[in-house]
Amino acid sequence: MNVAAAIADRTAGFLERLGRAGLFLARGAWQIVAPPWRIYPIVKQIHFIGARSLLVIVVAGTFVGMVVALQFYDTLLRFGSVSLLGAAVGLSLMRELGPVLTALVVIGRAGSAICAEISIMRNEHQIDALECMAIDPYKHLIAPRLAAAIISVPLLTLIFITVGIAGGYFVGVILFDVSPGAYLGGMHDSVISRDFLMGGAKALVFGLLMIWIAMAKGFFLHLEPEGAHGSEGVSRVTTDAVVLSSIAVLFSDYILSAIIL
């Protein structure tokens, strides 16, 4: 009986949190399109989420492209198919590694910071202050970050894929003497519009999931089931946000792949 009651309690709690997070997303999304429209807060957030993640994305993308090329070169060499190196690097970056690794990097760099910032605002009554000044926190805090993530993450993914392909080119063509024509031509012949669609759709969904979870965790700090307060509470929800959004990205990666393939 106690076990059943505990399960029912937890289920009800989970559904309540899910519903609250769903409404949170809907309100934030509505405030992107609802007037008055303000571009500057979105640009400021694009700078934070996008521009300031650029260096780490370029470094990560280059090394991931290089290591993917290295691994594929070694494997393809065994089957005498080194000419497929460009196709293998391009497809793996575009369909899987680009969107997933970009999202994970952005979660670590920007998602955690956004969650911590919003939860501190909640903790220090800054969100209450916004409400009391008749300033909608969804318009002021949530909508700009949501719009910025939806714009930034696909662009960062594109950059990750581009530098990854360049990194693969360096390893394949410069270090292992694969023909440049075979590398680029193979990629050109094998990458089709569905691969672009898959990469683009994943980048968009991952960006949305990442920012949604990070913001909702911070915004509802005061409603955490075990209670969260002060620096310990901020630390806990930020860790939760990073873990949960990483899992959500990996889970939705499989779902999206299964749907599109």
Partner: protein
């Protein structure tokens, strides 16, 4: 609109409030009249801040109602609530300034959000309020660079930037030295005189209360035990108020057996 007297600016009727299963306010009734300064005081945890949140529409009542400027907060939709809040100023205990904005940007934020005034006019109005709070020379500093007293004054400047009819001020003196606290009390009195505001202060600082308040509400364990003038509070024979005025802890008969049982019952 309720049919109440226009002189009553804040009207709390039979307010009960809960956090989960725990009741924190019990049938609170309170009327704040136009132009008066009312202080709500009591020990930590007596329900002052909860009452404050109800008066700001930040918490929903379990029963009873709260009206501000003649509008029942529970019956307002978001648009009406926000319209009402533009006529209300709120200064939070720690200032609740936005850490990414400078003092000036914090103070001018409501004007930028709610008016179509040009930048110069907003700057002049902001300077006036900062000057009133003696913060003009600190307008470019970030909140992290301010002292506790400055944070409260900056929060107060932001709260009055729209010239509100009612000002709610949470713990104006908390954490301040006596001199800074007295300065803030003077500012509150000047605000009332200059801007004809109705002011509600939440505090547990006796000196501050007697310096500024016209009337005082004393809360104890979520129940109002007295609402009256300073003289009425000082003349009260209620032991809880006498203890509070004499800065003594609340009376609790010590039962050694019950205490021992409580200790041994507690799971370690």
């Amino acid at each position: 609109m309720t049919a109440q007297s226009p002189q009553v600016v804040v009207d709390v009727r039979d307010l009960c409030s809960h956090y989960g299963d725990r009741q924190v306010l019990f049938d609170v009734n309170l009327q704040v009249h136009a132009g008066e300064i009312l202080a709500i005081m009591g020990h930590s945890g007596c329900g002052k801040t909860t009452l404050f949140r109800h008066m700001l529409g930040l918490k929903t009542a379990s029963s009873g109602q709260v009206s501000v400027l003649g509008r029942n907060l529970a019956g307002l939709n978001k648009t009406d609530l926000y319209a009402l809040r533009q006529r209300i100023g709120v200064a939070f205990q720690n200032g609740a300034l936005f850490s990414s904005l400078s003092v000036r940007e914090n103070v001018e934020l409501p004007l930028r959000e709610h008016t179509s005034l040009d930048g110069n006019t907003i700057r002049i109005m902001t300077r006036m309020k900062l000057d009133f709070m003696r913060l003009t020379e600190f307008e470019h500093l970030m909140p992290a660079q301010l002292s506790g007293g400055m944070l409260k004054r900056a929060g107060l400047a932001r709260a009055v930037i729209m010239d509100p009819q009612v000002l709610f001020f949470d713990e104006p003196s908390a954490g301040l030295d006596p001199v800074t606290s007295a300065e803030l009390d003077q500012l509150i009195l000047m605000l009332r005189k200059a801007m004809k505001m109705t002011i509600v202060i939440i505090t547990h600082e006796l000196q501050s209360v007697f310096a500024v308040a016209d009337r005082i509400m004393v809360l104890d364990a979520g129940r109002p035990i007295l609402i009256g003038t300073k003289e009425e509070v000082q003349a009260s024979t209620d032991r809880r108020i006498v203890n509070m005025l004499n800065r003594r802890p609340p009376d609790e008969a010590f039962d050694a057996d019950a205490y021992l049982e409580k200790l041994t019952r507690t799971r370690l």
